[in-house]
């Protein structure tokens, strides 16, 4: 690793520590704001300014932290090794970790496939009123499978008057749960193959 990325890694580790240490103050700021009328809009004073600035800095750094986790492998491995209590002190533990990762990969993948299947599945069992009973059939069962890429219903709700004049409005992820699950399944398989190929290329 170059000295530049080592320095950046050190900075990121300091940011991680700050995020952890400052979390109680951030939580305190949120509780303080919500416990006052107007959810903190009418709060003034030096202490409130310090707390709110801390909250803003913390949130911006949190976004940077999450982006680094996604896009920087070295940082991701360093942070997530600590968070998941993984141990790789020698070759035996690396071997065990590799086996566990493979088992986790397959079990997570199978769980995602199950959730993907359930996310698009619609089963309706209806009981007919007595007057509509035909040939002794008292009800109907409808099985349907639907896949939508984006959440169109949510988009229409969001397009109300409250959004007028907004420079930027970000309300969660616009994709449906089935498209997200499909993305995660494909991402899981692709990342496994990319890392395997990279390792094979190194060997």
């Amino acid at each position: 690793m170059s000295s530049k990325s080592e320095k950046l890694l050190r900075v990121n580790m300091w940011i991680s520590k700050y995020l952890l240490m400052a979390f109680p103050f951030v939580a305190g700021t949120v509780i303080w704001a919500y416990s006052t009328p107007g959810h903190g809009i009418e709060l003034h004073g030096l202490i409130w300014e310090i707390f709110s600035w801390n909250f803003m800095i913390w949130f911006v750094l949190l976004v940077y932290f999450i982006m680094s986790l996604v896009f920087w492998q070295t940082f991701r491995e360093k942070i997530l090794t600590t968070l998941t209590f993984s141990k790789e002190r020698d070759e035996r533990e690396s071997f065990i970790s590799g086996r566990a990762s493979k088992a986790t990969f397959y079990s997570t993948l199978s769980m995602l496939i199950l959730l993907f299947f359930l996310s698009g599945l619609h089963v309706h069992i209806n009981k007919k009123p007595k007057e509509e009973v035909v040939d002794g059939k008292h009800g109907t069962i409808t099985i349907d499978y639907k896949f939508e890429f984006v959440n169109t219903a949510k988009k229409n709700v969001d397009g109300d008057e409250n959004k007028k004049g907004n420079f930027l409005a970000l309300d969660g992820i616009p994709f449906t749960q089935e498209s997200l699950l499909l993305f995660l399944i494909l991402y899981h398989i692709a990342s496994y193959h990319i890392f395997t190929r990279r390792r094979l290329g190194d060997a």
Partner: protein, 77 residues
């Protein structure tokens, strides 16, 4: 050429070498840069060390790899 079994049971004489040298599992682990749990696993035959680690162990005891590790006859073919 003879038929080679698909699975070999590799055993070690590390405990014997340790006893000769009068060192503990922890001391050996520290000397070759692994954990004590790894030494225990190798001694019990639960873990096959890499070629590099096998050489490190052999070098530490001043012996050949064959003097420390041996293959036990296995029924599995």
């Amino acid at each position: 050429m003879g038929k080679v079994p698909t699975k070999l049971s590799i055993q070690s004489k590390i405990h014997v070498c340790r006893a000769e040298k009068r060192i503990t599992q922890q001391e050996l682990a520290d000397a070759i840069g692994v954990t004590r749990a790894t030494i225990i696993s190798i001694e019990k035959g639960n873990y096959n060390p890499s070629l590099e680690l096998s050489f490190r162990i052999a070098l530490y005891f001043g012996k050949n790899i064959q003097d420390i590790f041996y293959v036990e006859e296995s029924d599995e073919q």
